[in-house]
Symmetry: C2
Subunit: 293 residues, 2 copies
Amino acid sequence: MQLIDGKLTSKEVRQEIAAEVEIIKKAGGKIPHLSAILVGHDGGSESYVAGKMKACEEVGFKSSLIRFEDDVTEEVLLNKVQELNEDPDIDGFIVQLPLPKHISEEKVTDSIDPRKDVDGFHPQNLGRMVIGSPAFISATPQGIMELLKRYEIETSGKHCVVIGRSNIVGRPMSILLSQKGYPGDATVTVCHSRTKNLKEICLSADIIVAAIGSPEFLKAEMVKEGAVVIDVGTTRVEAPDTKRGWRLKGDVKFDEVAPKCSYITPVPGGVGPMTITSLILNTLKSAKKEIYK
Amino acid sequence: MQLIDGKLTSKEVRQEIAAEVEIIKKAGGKIPHLSAILVGHDGGSESYVAGKMKACEEVGFKSSLIRFEDDVTEEVLLNKVQELNEDPDIDGFIVQLPLPKHISEEKVTDSIDPRKDVDGFHPQNLGRMVIGSPAFISATPQGIMELLKRYEIETSGKHCVVIGRSNIVGRPMSILLSQKGYPGDATVTVCHSRTKNLKEICLSADIIVAAIGSPEFLKAEMVKEGAVVIDVGTTRVEAPDTKRGWRLKGDVKFDEVAPKCSYITPVPGGVGPMTITSLILNTLKSAKKEIYK
């Protein structure tokens, strides 16, 4: 069993990006610039955005944080999005979700210029992903694809079971893994809450992507010997023995599943550390006009 | 075994649309208007477009056909698209594919206003389909969904195997069938040229969508008793005994597969007749602003 070390891979990718930024700098080019809009003071959002800004600093990007209070109107927010769309210095930006209830997340997402949508949430980027055109892929799926690539995990002709059909993980993973090329060309089965015989289906899988958000859902009896298991779950469960009072739990019962696997991602330290790095990678791609010419 | 009669269903849907148009007319509303751009004189394209225009007439739509010669420049074509985008009388329009090689089909498709993209080929509509937002769904997948609905075929929790991952059939079908709601909530496996054990996978399927374009590919030994089989194939094979010299063949070896099925679509007369009807339905939806407000 080999552990897929997302923390290490993330560090490597960031070092590669930092090296590219150095080259751009030396050539007198424009430094990639990621901007983030943060509405309100939700603890989770605060720490995500802080992590993103810190990652920018780490790789030498320019970054900017735009804050609004909870009572900002949709109109003011949309105007700010428009401003960032038009600002030639900004290569990509994100609007941190969730937004307050009086603001339509769909409207805000749709208003972002797809060319700067480094979160990959805009329908135009999802649609381009579907047809295999260059597209900004959202952070988690892209992070997983990067891990598969760097660990040289064979996907062609493999049976891959994706548990979960969410717009941000399960659905894009099922599309990407069944697409032509590498990592891809897998025979993909999409499972979800309505699936019958989930155990049998999982048992036939060479690769399992667990993205249900249900702690320790995937048990050893559902995994065949030698399978690759990607655990996307990150649920906080109470843990009075820790300083924070909680611990991150994946969707996989790691202790019993891991011994059966050829490769497995741990939680924490697997898929998680790759997400912000994917965002940074998308921003670099945007600055280099790799997705949209 | 029950035959899914696409010809009959198509007729019924068109009658319903015609009735709606009558109501709109009587209320003094605007008659739905579908426009088609046809470049060159390809035989297949000519007859497709003629079928679309005829269908408009049949249901009482206004239609218009814009023709260009093969040597039209991309710029002229894009200008025409822009003109149709801005014409308030036109509810939807299509650019008949394929286009001559000197014109980028991607560029042309991308230039169509998604609100008028009744072919459902624009990335924005594909992306909206992915996240389950209202979207124009392309003709063949939408036609199949309509058939499943009208024949009240149970899909929830069923194992559905989609053979083929094309952008216009296999891929959208796999997304739609695994989405929440009806017809959907199926456990979907996407198979393609790289799939191993296709026979075993098909044998476990409650519903098979065959969209590979390989005549009589799906044999009886690949289909379990009681399965629903949707045949999307339409390959012309030589048939000297016919007047035209060819015959349409589906992807399913009908004679041997049909007796095992609970439901099956024939070729011709199954999925085929639904495609133009789907386009007409999309145009009505556009006129009624059901997809985009």
